[in-house]
């Protein structure tokens, strides 16, 4: 009897405590997402895409030096773990006197990473555009640059939106790795709260839930963009 009472009591106590922790931790986690995870994703993705387009154009340029540089870059980034890259940039570079703050270090790491993966997506998209499109644009007198800008890239964009959306969503989740280089993003916040409350299941589930919501919203945006871009294909 006593034992049962005790169990009930502790269950009730736990539920209260759970709700309490969940409520008080939600705001810090959300802040971590809004002030760190999301900006980190956005900035890295924009820089990464610029890098990616440049790298893709290097790759298809036909100039040995440029395509060589692009190949080496892609090979290194794809051939090494993102976590290791972040450690080299943040901890490693201090040995040669380059001391970066956590946030910029994370941005550099994620941008380089996005640049390499997305460049392959963009390159494939450019190569998927029929040769006849290049020829038609050249036949009306366009230069290489004009053809690329007016005819090829707009079509390649449509082709690359779905895979690039995947990269973007992956990036949202990958930013959790920045916790290891001391960025105060959402997952690091969750770890800190766990250290005080000893409720790993609750906090990590809460963080997972917020990641999921962000990605869910993003997939809705992706659908919108795809619908808009599909206007001109049957």
């Amino acid at each position: 009897m006593f034992l049962l009472n005790n169990m009930l009591y502790s269950a009730v106590f736990d539920a209260d405590r759970y709700i309490d922790i969940a409520q008080s931790s939600f705001l810090p986690l959300l802040k971590g997402a809004l002030f760190y995870s999301i900006p980190m994703t956005l900035i890295s993705f924009v820089i990464g895409i610029i890098l990616a387009i440049t790298t893709a154009l290097f790759r298809i340029s036909g100039v040995k030096l440029l395509s060589g540089i692009a190949r080496v870059y892609i090979s290194i980034i794809r051939g090494t773990p993102l976590l290791v890259q972040l450690f080299i940039i943040f901890f490693g570079l201090t040995s040669v006197g380059i001391k970066l703050d956590p946030f910029p270090a994370a941005i550099i790491g994620f941008s380089l990473n996005t640049g390499a993966y997305a460049s392959e997506i963009i390159r494939a998209a450019i190569l998927s555009i029929p040769k006849g499109q290049w020829e038609a644009s050249q036949s009306i007198g366009m230069s290489y640059g004009q053809s690329l800008k007016r005819i090829i890239l707009p079509q390649a964009t449509r082709v690359s939106i779905p895979p690039l959306s995947n990269s973007f969503i992956s990036l949202v989740k990958d930013t959790s790795l920045a916790s290891t280089i001391l960025v105060a993003e959402m997952f690091r916040k969750a770890q800190e709260i766990v250290a005080n409350t000893y409720e790993p299941l609750l906090l990590y589930t809460e963080a997972a839930f917020i990641y999921w919501m962000i990605c869910f919203l993003l997939s809705l945006v992706q659908d919108q963009i795809e619908n808009k871009l599909n206007r001109y294909v049957s």
Binding site: P130, G132, Q133, E135, A136, S137, Q138, S139, I140, G141, M142, S143, Q146, R150, I151, P154, Q155, R158, R231, Y232, V233, S234
Partner: protein, 245 residues
């Protein structure tokens, strides 16, 4: 006005054009016929350097390209601005409407004012019978309509010569007529044209000269009446027999 001298084109060891000479006076229509693989498409593509000839000369008006030497991008550009190309598979820009396709050359390349270009673009689309389809995307048009947009797009840059590569061979038979009608009209208006086609009606009606090509050479050339009724060469005769079967 358009002249080709001793034009050669090789892909690796494969000789595709083996010394072609051709002179086209302003306003003349040349029809090129010949079996598959004889080099007709390659000849047209060499005329606007979509394919770089191995050897020989191509000149249009003042622009003279000698392919023994290295030709500059600028000269190639100048040449292309004087030639309009119509492709077998249309190659319209799928992300642009009919009108946008047509004004792309004038606006982007020739830096014509957009409103002016539109005005002229609409006129051209009306001319090819598509005045009511200017805002349609290529996928909303039939093959024959797409090809007519292709013709309007090529005309929009005010070319000296129009090049047609089997413009009707990808079309359903009932759509061939509308495209040929536009081409005949152009010919009657005095457009200089080089046309690869096996549409005999077109050749008979508007061609000033017919070229029969085989294995990268011009085997026989002459007025359509002669070529089609009393060809001199055995190979021409065989080919025409095959066509009429």
């Amino acid at each position: 006005m358009l002249s080709i001298q001793n034009l050669h084109k090789q892909f690796g060891n494969l000789v595709v054009l083996d010394g072609i000479d051709l002179n086209v006076e302003k306003g003349k229509v040349i029809v090129v016929i010949g079996p598959s693989g004889s080099g007709k498409t390659t000849l047209l593509r060499c005329l606007n350097v979509l394919e770089t000839p191995t050897k020989g000369n191509v000149s249009i008006n003042q622009t003279d390209l000698n392919f023994e030497e290295k030709v500059s991008k600028k000269d190639i550009q100048t040449l292309r601005k004087q030639t309009g190309m119509v492709f077998q598979t249309y190659n319209l820009f799928p992300h642009m409407t009919a009108l946008q396709n047509v004004i792309e050359g004038p606006v982007t390349v020739q830096k014509v004012n957009k409103e002016k270009a539109k005005e002229k673009g609409i006129q051209l689309l009306e001319k090819v019978g598509l005045g009511d389809k200017i805002d349609y995307y290529p996928h909303q048009l039939s093959g024959g309509q797409q090809q007519r947009v292709g013709i309007a797009r090529a005309l929009a840059i005010d070319p000296e010569v129009m090049l047609f590569d089997e413009p009707t061979s990808a079309l359903d038979p009932e759509l061939v007529g509308e495209v040929l009608r536009v081409m005949k009209e152009l010919a009657h208006e005095g457009m200089t044209m080089v046309v690869v086609t096996h549409e005999m009606s077109f050749a008979k009606e508007v061609a000033d000269e017919v070229l029969f090509m085989d294995q990268g050479q011009v085997i026989e050339r002459g007025h359509p009446d002669h070529i089609f009724t009393t060809p001199k060469e055995e190979r021409t005769r065989q080919f025409l027999n095959l066509l009429s079967e």
